[in-house]
Amino acid sequence: MKVADTIRRKLTEALSPVALHIVDDSDKHRGHAGYREGGESHFTVTIVSTAFEGDNRVARQRKVYTILAEELAGPVHALSVFALTPAEARSQEKRQQ
């Protein structure tokens, strides 16, 4: 299974996100120490879930890191996380319009 698919499955199961966007940025890190041929080492995850309500930024990112602990200890060298609540995602969308 592709790493991105595993990330999607685990986050979906644990956080029931209303939106989940996973980007493999590995190519941007070509030549860098953590880069592997074939990619799947650097990811950006944008996730919208009610599970983040009442959490500060650190707590939200810790939730994601905990769910993906195995991946972070293994193939994933870098993981950027943008964790929003549905209300925050809506107000961000409005600002961008």
Partner: protein, 110 residues
């Protein structure tokens, strides 16, 4: 809590108002994420101590356990863990970072 490296980390964050645990040094960052946070601190002209985790494998692993945070860089302000690259970047963009500096009494260039 018997990891000997914890004592050293605690000392660093006790003795320095702003500490960035990073890969490389502020002058020569060895990773884009560490570099991004160093640049943000430089932009606000905040004096900080950069601690290069690549110099010591026990520190590189120890800081992850200490902060319960599996990635580097890690920013501490007045002993409080603030976050990694994504969080610091978002806070810088939203104005929360200078708000934090104000609350903690850290001098910065507006």
């Amino acid at each position: 809590m018997t990891n000997p490296v914890f004592e050293r980390i605690q000392k660093d964050i006790d003795e320095n108002e702003v500490v960035l645990f990073m890969k490389g040094t502020p002058q020569f960052p060895q990773c884009g994420f560490s570099s991004a946070v160093a640049q943000i601190l430089d932009y606000f002209q905040v004096p900080y101590k950069g601690v290069d985790v690549l110099q010591d494998p026990s520190l590189r692993e120890g800081i992850k356990e200490f902060s319960q945070w599996p990635t580097i860089p890690q920013l501490y302000v007045k002993g409080e863990f603030i976050g990694g690259c994504d969080i610091v970047r978002e806070m810088a963009e939203s104005g929360e970072l200078t708000q934090l500096f104000d609350e903690k009494g850290i001098q910065y260039a507006a």
